[in-house]
Structures are given as C-alpha cells and as structure tokens.
C-alpha cells in the first residue's frame, strides 16, 4: 500500500497548478478589449442600465474582489452567472459537458482499438512489408488536419453513401451514437497514428526485457508471454503519452465540434470568448484544466497498478 501513498499527497501538489491556471485565465479574460455589458446591451444601453448590470454581475468591484469571489464560488461548487445566457454557468457547463465527454472518451477508446492491433502486428513482423506499411500509414496519419479529415469523411460517408448525418447531435441515445460515429472516427484516426508509433516502439523494447525472457524460460507459450507480460508493460508509456496529450485532445475537439456542429464545451468556450462572457470562459478553462489534471492523476494510478516497480 506504500506505493499508493501518492494518491494522498498528489492533490496537494496539484493545488498550486490549479491556482496558477485560475489566475492566468482570470487575467487573460479580462485583458480582452471591450466591455461585455456594453456588448450585450448594444445601442439600448443607457449609462444607468450599464451601471446596474455591471453591479448585478459584480463587475464594479475591484479585480482582487472579483478574483476572490470567483475562487470562493468555486469552492462552493458554483461558477457564477453567464452574462450572455443569464443563467448559472454550472447549468450551462453541465448540459454542454456530455457531448464533449462522449466525443473525447469514444475517440480515445476507438483509437486504442485501432492502435493496439496495428502496433502488435508491426512489432511482431518488424522490418517486413506489413511493418513498413503500418509505419508509413501512421506517419501519414500524424499530418492529417482534423478539420479536413472531417470534411472528407462527411463527403464520403454522409454525402456519397448517406450512412451518417452531416452534423448535429440528436436527442435519444441511439441518435447521439449515430451522430457521433464520424466525429469519433475523425479524432481516432489522427490519435491512433500517434499511439501506434509509440506502442510499437515500446513493444519492441519490452519483447526483449528480462521479465519477458523469464516468462519464456518458464515455458509459457509466446502469445501468453505477449498478452500477459509484454502488452501491459508496453501500454504504460502509451497511457502516459495519452494523458500528457489529453489537453491537446480536448482543445482539438473544439474544431471537431465546430465542423460537426456538436453543442459541446468547445462551442461554449468560443462563444464565451467572443462575447467576453467572463464567467463562462473562466469556468470552461477551469473544467478543462481539472479534467487534464485528473486524467494525468489517473494515468499515474494506472501506471503504479500495472507495474509494481514504479514508485511515485
């Protein structure tokens, strides 16, 4: 149990990171030129109504006070009120977070489903034509712009073959799944390229490790050695790579949400930035940051669980 002690103190280490992120976001959002209230009221705004609405959202307080309230609210599980939508940001985030989680989660699963078999085959037939083809494909896959791939998939599967809807999200569970297949495929194809390259390299290193040799010496068949001993250890660097890149992945989904018109966190963020909806941008940024930190934490837990040698 000694090895799992970091679960207790890691959150304390991560607190400064989250505070730093909250300060930077706060300053950044307030550096955007223009006044959100003026933008909201437009020509209708009289000096009195502008003052009243500023007071209503606490924007007449000093920056220190505003930051203090922002952090205090976060600890109470509140995120303040959206200036544009005039509802609690928490409510906005809770309705928008589902499509984004489904998009990111599904893409990661699909990417692993593509990468694990491809990397295994490439490593097993190292230097043979099939290995070269897989490496070639994964090198090409790295350079695919997600938004372009999305359009090409829409052209092929939605316009030509009429298999999937062009855009949108849907109401029922099966509708949502139907709408998500192309977005999943788009993100997963690019992601699986990165994962395949990484996993192939670590499988090759792990095939000749002491523990694999020991397993063979005990007379275990090669495919048992591979799936029970080589694969779990090879997955550790890949899982960590995935965790490090989760921030990029979440950011990347903003573009995908834009192409497929999925009402997720990314769309909320983009809209919030352009209307200077301070609370919305701050909250989305904090949600993304917490997700990134949480995923990295889980990757650490998983690493320690898989490999008893690792100490964190």
């Amino acid at each position: 149990m000694h090895r799992y002690r970091f679960i207790l103190y890691r959150p304390i280490q991560l607190l400064p990171v989250l505070i730093g992120i909250s300060v930077i976001t706060f300053i950044l959002v307030r550096s955007i030129p223009g006044d959100p209230v003026r933008a909201l009221l437009g020509a209708r705004g009289t000096p009195e109504s502008i003052l009243r609405i500023r007071a209503q959202f606490g924007l007449d307080e000093s920056l220190w006070t505003q930051y203090f309230y922002f952090v205090k609210n976060l600890f109470h599980g509140e995120m303040g009120k959206s200036i544009l939508y005039k509802v609690d940001v928490l409510k906005l985030v809770s309705t928008r977070i589902e499509p984004t989680i489904i998009l990111v989660g599904g893409s990661v699963l699909l990417a692993l489903l593509i990468a694990v078999p491809l990397a295994s085959i490439a490593a097993k037939y190292r230097g043979r034509p099939v290995d070269h083809i897989i490496r070639m494909l994964s090198t090409a896959g790295l350079g695919f712009p997600a938004f372009w791939l999305a359009i090409m998939l829409i052209l092929l599967f939605s316009v030509q073959l009429d298999l999937f809807p062009v855009a949108g999200y849907g109401k029922t569970f099966s509708e949502k799944l139907h709408h998500m297949i192309l977005p999943w495929l788009t993100v997963a194809l690019a992601l699986s390229a990165v994962l395949t390259r990484n996993l192939r390299a670590s499988i090759l290193a792990e095939l000749h490790s002491d523990q694999a040799t020991a397993a063979r010496a005990r007379g275990l068949p090669e495919n048992v050695v591979f799936w029970r001993h080589v694969m779990p250890n090879s997955l550790i660097p890949t899982i960590n790579l995935l965790a490090v890149n989760i921030g990029w992945l979440i950011s990347g989904t903003v573009v995908i949400e834009s192409v497929f018109a999925i009402p997720g966190m990314g769309q909320l963020l983009v809209r919030g930035i352009f209307t200077r909806d301070y609370m919305v941008v701050q909250s989305v940024a904090m949600t993304f940051a917490c997700a990134t930190v949480f995923v990295n934490f889980m990757a650490d837990v998983l690493t320690v669980t898989i490999d008893p040698r690792v100490k964190l």
Partner: protein, 284 residues
C-alpha cells in the same frame, strides 16, 4: 512510393544506416520540393492566386485548371502553390520562437538547479495543464486575428517541450568531465552553458522541432480554418479548406487539394524527424 523504392535500392547495401536514411532522404526531398515551390511560386503558378474569373466558376479539374477552380473562379493549383509560402512560414515561425525560449529556460533551469529549477518546473506544470485553446483564442482576440497573434500563442505554449528536453540533458551533462573541467578553468556560467553544454544537449531538441513543426502547421491551418489566422483573400491551405466546405457537394476539388498539400508537407516534417532521430541516434 517510387521515390522510396529507388532510395531503397540505392542505399540497400548500407545495412547500418538503412532504417534512418530512407525517411531522411524522403523528408529532405519533400521539404526541399515545397521550399522550391514556395520560392518560385510566381514562376510556377499558372494563374494569379487571387484573381477572380466569373467565366470559370466551380470548374472541375481539367487541362487548363489541373486542380479545378473555386466559387470565385480562382485557380486552385495556383492557390495551393502560393499557399506553400504562408504554410511554410507558419511551420517555421511557430517553432522558432518556442525553440529559442525553451532552450534558454531549459538551460538555466538544468544548469543552476535549486529554487530556479523548481520555479520553472512548476511553471511548466501550469502550462502543461493549461487548456491550450483557451490561451490561443484569448490571445488572438486580445491582439487581433492574424499570424502574429498565432506565433505569440505558439511560443507561449510550445517552449515547455524544449525546456524539458534541454533541462533533462543538462542535468546529466553538467556533471560530465568536460563540463567540470570548463568550470574549473574559471569560464563564466554563460560560456559553460552555451558553448560547452548546449552543443551536446541540443540534438534531441532539433529532432523534436521537426515533429513539433507538424503540430504547429496543423494548428495554424486550424486557426485559419476557424477564421482567426490568415485572412481572405490570401491563399493559405487552411482558409481554402474552410472556403470549400460550403461547396463540398458540388466541388470536392476545392477542399481536397489544399488538404493533400498539408498532409504531404506534414509527412515531410515527420519523416525528417524520424530519419534524423535514427541517424543521429536520438530517441524521442
């Protein structure tokens, strides 16, 4: 593929270098070709990239227009050729600033250690967990749309990877005999850091910068696609894809060719990174 085979045949007997030389040669060929295309764009492009011609609107690929024309009657081939200038610039400047900042920070953190190192490492933790897109979009909104804002955003985020690579190398190298010797000769910190340690530490960063260029290129194109980077009517691949999206059912060629251009250029960078990594013995 023809290229790969001929390169293979020529270098096949060099067993030791074979695995690295093929991607290296292909990477150099692809990047070199794009560089030449960008430099000689005025000579190579058959038409003016922003000249509109109502007579040839939305024409599919033909002898006169090998890549077809868009909804303004502009020649796609000419726009792809001119776009190489902008997209090569995006990949270069998006990487250079991050590279320089990251190298300096990584050198200082690794060389001096102690509280300086701790401070920079915490900062790196923050940047790594910071939602990249929030930073990029707010900076672009603050500074106004355009490539300048994009470079600032890429530099602010990208330095982290270089700083970590250089720092890791410095932590090992600063205890090497030649470094200790340089210090005992009374050389200044700056001299030891940048004349003695850095040349030994920088290889992995150079290799990484090639794969970083792929990410930067894709981001730059995505930002332009969202309408926040290069502004129309400039010929840039990301914008061209965005402009063609509305005509996808009646003119597939408008979005297809600029996309292929991005993929090919990105492959060039990836292969150069792979090849350099293998030949120089640097593992990513």
């Amino acid at each position: 593929m023809i290229l790969a085979r001929s390169a293979n045949a020529r270098l096949g007997w060099r067993l030791k270098f074979d695995s690295g030389m093929v991607p290296l040669a292909m990477g150099i060929t692809i990047l070199g070709s794009w560089l030449l295309i960008a430099i000689f764009a005025p000579l190579l492009a058959p038409y003016d990239p922003i000249l509109q011609d109502a007579a040839v609107r939305l024409k599919p690929p033909s002898m006169a227009h090998p890549f077809g024309t868009d909804n303004f009657g502009r020649d796609i081939l000419s726009r792809v050729i001119w776009g190489a200038r902008i997209d090569l610039q995006i990949a270069t400047f998006g990487v250079v600033f991050a590279f320089v900042i990251g190298t300096i920070v990584g050198s200082i953190a690794g060389y001096f250690g102690g509280w300086i190192d701790i401070m920079f490492m915490r900062l790196i933790d923050i940047v790594l967990a910071f939602p990249f897109l929030v930073l990029m979009l707010t900076i672009i909104v603050i500074l106004g749309p355009g490539l300048g804002s994009f470079y600032v955003a890429m530099a602010l985020v990208g330095w982290v990877s270089y700083a970590r690579l250089i720092r890791a190398q410095f932590l090992v190298l600063k205890n090497a005999d030649f470094a200790v010797a340089a210090v005992s000769l009374g050389y200044s910190h700056t001299r030891v850091m940048f004349r003695h340690l850095l040349p030994n530490a920088i290889l992995s960063s150079i290799v990484f910068s090639m794969s970083d260029a792929v990410l930067v290129l894709l981001n730059g194109a995505a930002i332009s696609y969202l309408g926040l980077g290069v502004q129309p009517p400039t010929a840039e691949w990301g914008i061209m894809i965005a402009e063609g999206q509305g005509f996808i059912t009646i003119g597939w060629w408008i979005t297809t060719f600029p996309g292929i251009a991005i993929v090919v250029l990105a492959m060039g960078f990836s292969m150069l990174a792979d090849g350099l990594g293998e030949v120089l013995g640097v593992r990513e």
